[in-house]
Amino acid sequence: MTLANPSDFNGSLQPQGWLRYFSFSLDHKVIGLQYLVCGFLFYLVGGALAGAIRTELVTPLSDFMPRDTYNEVLTLHGTVMIFLWIVPVVNGAFGNYLIPFYVGARDMAFPRLNAVAFWLIPPAGILLISSYFIAGAAAQSGWTAYPPLSLTTPAAGQVVWILSVLLLGGSSIFGGINFIATILKLRRPGLKLMQLPMYCWAMLGTSILVVLSTPVLAGTLILLSFDIIAHTGFFNPSLGGNVVVYQHLFWFYSHPAVYIMVLPAFGLVSEILPVHARKPLFGYTTMVYSIMAIVFLGLIVWAHHMFTSGTPPWMRLFFTIATSFIAVPTGIKFFNWLATLWGGKIALNSAMLFSCAFIVNFVFGGITGVALAQVPFDIHVHDTYFVVGHFHYIVYGGTVFVIFGSLYHWYPKFTGRMLNEDLGRLHFLLTFVGFNLCFAPQHWLGLNGMPRRVAEYDPAFTTLNQVSSVGALLMALSTLPLLINVVVTALHGKPAGDNPWNALTPEWLTSSPPPVENWIGEAPLVTEPYGYGHHQDQPQEVAA
């Protein structure tokens, strides 16, 4: 690896062709696609687990699987979806692929660290899932692993769960360090921070949250593992410990984790909307400041998850107000997206359908979020299906919709071929209908008092649960057109060309797929990534 010849940078010893996706490749684009495919495989696993949950809940009795198994399934579902699908894909996959392009670099700041971060994920995932088989019983205490529940359920599975989450947390921290260094230090000369595409700002904010909050979760889980293995009493009330301290430390990570999952989605959707509406991103500066405001506020709202944990009144007051404030920067972003679309010549392709649906879903999830921030309402619906519905509107209706939209938007760049639009629209239709059918009824169930995380329920809740399960079935079916699309396109897809969307951001100013070091020759200097209509050759197309 000599400096004089950067083409050695990715190492002539690295495998080429499809084999490189199974290697310790240092190419940020290979690593990005490794994250994407690996994450999608875990999405199928997590989805199968969700299918098992919804099958169990078709009837009020626990007749599909034993109750302990149900607890294992819901724990694995939450952990897989969060730590192995959403966080790695919305950060690792698109971040690694796009950020070096956006800052005008040929790779990430620390390519080896980048490869290490990815290769921690498959073993951690396999470890997590295999705990069901090798440890006799997988963890049963939910993705939150609250003590004392996590201290009384089978220990081996819980310890394996902790080990797996620690590995994934380490991967996440390494990734965060890399993104911060890449965005702040590796920018092409002449490129200013306020000229960067919005996804860079989203990833910078996300990475700050990752670096500040993930280590606290790691420390907490180490203490929890001491409680399980060495029988200390940090979080064990019968030994003088304090369970609420665990909750504080856990949510100090896990509330920011929601923003770790959704801020990158904000960034991605801010890239997709201007391209397909042929208009500049509205309110760039306010977008940047609202991302940073969300980062700051996101760190001081964690106890709104704990309004029923004996939280003192002053704490309830503070966390209610701080949480409600988050609606302000989020609202700014929401109106900026609408203003971006306003009067634009919108191409309603699959990428745009998913992105626009994201706005709709996210507003709904955001409004129920503000409702949940209010103590009296929160106490009423705490630990009910209302929270489950709210959460899935944020992470599925929000982030996963953006992941799919991004897939349709960037797939031509990844592979050089266009995804089929008809199959894409079918995928969208099934996902959108299935998603809303699945999760909207859960708000009513929660308001009426159906608790979360139980395999059996009052027969009065049967109809809404069955509606929800039908929605889940549609969501499962929606994966088929996507898979068919990817396979068929890989074989017979229409060639995409370098820039099928006529977009201005830097990743489109090179071939599809891009060469190993992103550009033949010098990296382009893109100072107006949203300059639609600012130049003769890029006319802004406004509908009459």
Binding site: M1, T2, L3, A4, P6, F9, L26, G104, A105, R106, D107, M108, A109, F110, P111, R112, L113, I173, G176, I177, N178, I180, A181, L184, K185, L186, R188, P189, G190, V211, L212, S213, T214, P215, V216, A218, G219, T220, I222, L223, F226, A230, H231, T232, G233, F234, L239, G240, G241, N242, V245, H248, L249, F252, E517, E522, A523, L525
Partner: protein
Amino acid sequence: MTSTAPLQDSGSRDLSPDPGHTTAHTSEGHGDFRLFGLATFLVADGMTFAGFFAAYLTFRAVNPLQEGSTYELELLLPTINTVVLIISSFTFHRAGKECRDGNLGASRLWLAITGALGAAFLAGQMVEYFSLPFSLTDNLFASTFYALTGFHGLHVTLGVICIAIVALQTRSGGRNTASDHFGLEAAELYWHFVDGIWVVLYGILYLL
């Protein structure tokens, strides 16, 4: 605009065993940002300690121990240890200065002194552990005491290992020279961090 081809080179060498990297990482307008990456990691590491400190202080505030189970800690040994660790930060700083001035032999000597001080700290902590009247699972205070000091001791142990490696590399023809000594700088930054954490830990664990 000059060619941007080697923009990422300085970073790409972060874990590289390649010894042939002696120049060029500042020639393209981008400085060497490996230290920046390490500093970001230390912020993260510091947050782990912050979580432990917050847990300890909360336990103290809301979970008082039962009558007769509060332990007064001996102050003499930990105080000596604190002084030892603070001195070791100065000796490490001196080692870095000597290295930058090209006195590799002196730098190596100061590194050896720093490593010895670190080892002395660890020895002192072991003596303290064996003389304490409580063990890991006795009560909440005992558990937290061992978790905090143990986690810090793990950091010191890693630091001493790093110092030993860096000392071996600081010689003519080695990795650390007057012009290029990332390993030494990184170990120094880490050591100051571990030192600073101890001062906070000493304050809240022994003095508060």
